[in-house]
Amino acid sequence: MTTADKRAAGTGTSAEGAPAAAPDEAPTSAPRRGPAPGAGPMARMMGGPIDKSLNFKGSGKRLLAQMRPERGIIAVALLLGVLSVALTVVGPRVLGRATDLIMAGIVGRRLPEGITKAQAADHLRAHGQGGLADMLGTMPVVPGHGIDFGAVGTVLVGAAAIYISAALFGFVQARIATRVVQRTVFRMRQQVEEKLARLPLSYFDKQQRGEVLSRATNDIDNIQQTLQQTLSQIMVSVLTILGVLLMMFWISPLLALVALVTVPVSVLVAARIGKRAQPQFVQQWKTTGKLNAHIEEMYTGHSLVKVFGRGRESAELFREQNEALYAAGFKAQFISGIIQPAMMFIGNLNYVLVAVIGGLRVASGALSIGDVQAFIQYSRQFSQPLTQVASMANLVQSGVASAERVFELLDAGEQAPDPERPVRPDEVRGRVAFEDVSFRYVENKPLIDGLSLAVHPGQTVAIVGPTGAGKTTLVNLLMRFYEVSGGRITLDGVDIAGMSREELRGNIGMVLQDTWLFGGTIAENIAYGAPEGTSLDKVVEAARATHVDRFVRTLPEGYDTVIDEEGANVSAGEKQLITIARAFLAEPAILVLDEATSSVDTRTEVLIQHAMAQLRTGRTSFVIAHRLSTIRDADVILVMENGAIVEQGSHDALLAVGGAYARLYAAQFAEAVAETE
């Protein structure tokens, strides 16, 4: 299933909202990718694919609930926002007063001094200026007097004061909002990370890692962006819309109604165009996906394309898809691009209507000229936050969808907590016993059944068997990455289920086939399992014992060489050696080794083998064996098939039996022996 199917590209169709799915339908395991990398504001602007949430309301509420600890300062921010918007909204009205004063001055100057307004009106009518006479009613005219600059100045100082305080309040409000958002996201990140630590390993094995990672990183990033861009803005926009409406009705209900009519018209037009644009966007994203997949394949398989001489076909397909993307992209961008001019057109029509009707009203004396001026300013302020809120609908939707995915992660079942009062062996010597252990991932499908095994301190146990036989599962149970479904495992007589995981794992060192180094220096990576403050001398000592020292010294920065994310500056074999040094330095009583070294060159392999042997001496070791030497030297060889130990014993004894081990040995190892003979 492609992600595109699950996404609906959207512009202006927010009104349709999210499909109302029952919350219990939310799948927890359906792999869904987070927002595409690089889906920044630009991608949104072009109507990028928006994930729709399954339960918009619930997840949205929960996202808001994440801000609960901040509710105190949110209230303050809200109050400041109201103040700021109220003042901003009053501003034009006050400015309009000043215009009226100026207008009155012009008219008043032309009138004889000392008469009343009524007389002045009569005077004007007598001079054939009936229109102007009607206007006097709304004007603070003093006949015979010019513009009262004292009064104008006072009004303007007031206006300036209003604007300055509005800006101040607005600034503080935005600052608080920033803080709220950042703190909320900080907490969510913290929650996710803590959650990851409490999730059982089975969660990571079942889920795709990329999927978990995407929730922990991309989705949280997306939430941060969404909250940052919408929270404060939506608040201000909504308040502004309300405030402006109020003012418009106050000035002139008639004009306000005219302006209001344009709202549903705008919404309707935007929705209409949006609906037409949507399939084009879907098409655009489909073709983008196809083209990108082709590019990805052709680049990743670049040398194959060359070697198999398929460059022409590849280019042909590219050209076809590129052309399709052009066609789809052009349509989508054109249709959605009409929205803005259309909105502007409606805005302009509104402007003309206000100018004409306002002009008529002024002429009839029902409205002052300052009022019209203020009204024009208001109608501009009105449409802007409207479009802003509309454009944020998509953003909010994608943010809530991300939040939903993060909540799914946060709601995943956790591993059982450690026992209240954990037990611990008096002395860890390395005696391990599996007593009738069974384990299953899925009910009725036992993976390990009735497995018993006793290992004495210092013994080496080699585990062999085909892939899927349960070799790794055995180790996972010992490490308590998974919990047994039946029976028990003991360490020096103590049931490991009664121990704290920390205590148990502290006694076991592990070297995995899949080497893992973190972004830090080589020294830090070696010291990873050792107690804090382990001296460099000890690190070097461990490195020397495991053949790490030699190659580290050839690096220009030695132990301070930083290993980058992919560990690209150190070869695979060298990485393996570092992980061995790490286990060595941890000085565990028990060792778990996965030997496979398929990608390592043969000389490094010798070193690794020596290092592993060094590591094993005097320790109880479980080795998932791939090498003859380990198998021969092992005290006990476990041959596993289908989750059960089918044979158990020493190399010679098992060969003598001539069973499963003998067959396996003949198939896998005999030839290697034969070839040097």
Partner: protein
Amino acid sequence: MMAYASAGPAPGRFRQRLSAERGVSGTDRRNSVAEGKCSHRLPDVLVRLARVHLRPYRRSIALIVLLQLIQTLATLYLPTLNADIIDNGVVKGDTGYIFRVGGFMIAVTALQVVCAVTAVYFGARTAMALGRDIRAAVFDQVQSFSAREVGAFGAPSLITRTTNDVQQVQMLVLMTFTMMVSAPIMCVGGIVMALNQDAPLSALLLVIVPVLGILVSLIVRRMRPLFRGVQTRIDTVNRVLREQITGIRVIRAFVRDRHERERFGAANTDLYDVSLRAGRLMSMMFPLVMLIVNLSSVAVVWFGGLRIGGGRMEIGALTAFLSYLMYILMSIMMATFMVMMLPRAEVCAERIQEVLATDSSVTPPAHPVTALRRHGELELRNVEFRFPGAEQPVLKDVSLVARPGETTAVIGSTGSGKSTLLGLVPRLFDATGGAVLVDGEDVRTLDQETLATVIGLVPQKPYLFSGTVASNLRYGNPEATDDELWHALETAQARDFVERMDGGLDAAIAQGGSNVSGGQRQRLAIARALVRKPEIYLFDDSFSALDYATDAALRAALSRETDRATVVIVAQRVATIRGADRIVVLDEGRIVGTGTHTELMAGNETYREIVLSQLTEQEAA
């Protein structure tokens, strides 16, 4: 091409050798660009890229500018008409005039919307065409690259450059055409109209515009490094999380949960701090701009009032002037917005340009030879291969002949140059010294497709394309019949599992072949090469993921299948190559021995060492 030797960090010899061998990783390069080392000359790159690729659309662009001009002027005309309504209609009480001018205003508005929509039409078309063209240019360029350039950039980086980066540039151009073109027109037009209303009052603009410009650019300038800081910290937090998720077993095994918690906490706190600082600066922006705009209105009313009082200006001009002021300030805001978006697109353009400016180290011959004897004789004559800027060559003075019907094996430790050696044959790389000859012809003179038909390569990392088993097998030979496919699968020991797959030959293969196991992928890749029936087989460590039994069976079947072909096998495992007619031992890029297994065991120290390293002394005895 020399660019990336100097682009990457170059501390010391070792790193250099490594980076030459593996190629400076794409992320390194990306960082070096993203960190803005060359940000001073970045705009040039964007302009250059756009200019070159916009050339075919000159006419459309001229039309867009014209339409935007008309559209903007129409918008600007409205306040003047409004002033007219007030001065000549309202003040004089002439309702007929109000209606007439009102009607005219609607006509102007209609003209405006028609021009705007047409401009969007051509803008979208041109921008999308530009994106298409640049994408095609980058794709073609990458297709011409040798494995060396692809390795140096890294496939993921090249993918990003072709898809995301092109898209960013395309969006910027689109926004420029549909919105930004009108900003300067609006600004200049607004100023002209303001002057037209009242020239002395326009002197106010001399104060307001610079103040707004300076304040906004000051904030933007301070914001940029903060935003970059936020981004790097987000990257850090995400990196820590990624490490925690991928390394979860190790973290739990070594009981480092607490340490990891602290590490994450520190990174998260750091991110919070910087985000907060950036956010605070941002929160200053909007109120400040609004304040300037509003105070300007106050100033306009005051000074305008003075002029009206002096009888030098009409009242309608005041309202119009306020509108023009808004337009001017809006256009400045829009321009600022554009400037803020530029850096990102600049980086993208730079990254695209880097690809376009990189020449392939493997160039097609001017007069390609298409006639080939097609025996499959392969010869390397004193071949040297050196990455640019590397101190040590990867291959040095390598000479060998592989003949039809023979199996030549190359063995050596990692980094000894084995894979590079194979890559020289199909010209994934070109030798920097000496020559590679196929049937006596230098591969550099051969037609690329002619050369391709004689070679069947099984790469070290078997890559499958999305499609079906059959479509992958037919990749090198579209005409192959189903029987031929099954035969190849049987030889490659892949028949069993393909038969078990849902749909058999038509079973779906996911991108990269991720839905089959590593061993299965390897066998399918081998079958793919077999279907091609080439004269020369190149196996690059192609049996590593197979267990010994399968490996042995496969090699037995393979030798029957390829008995008349030239076979070159690169391997780590001694068992894989033991039976070869000739074994070439490679050490640090040089041939240190050639011979059969027995000969080499007797007389070649390096070979003995390699063999013995795979078995203990006691087993070898």
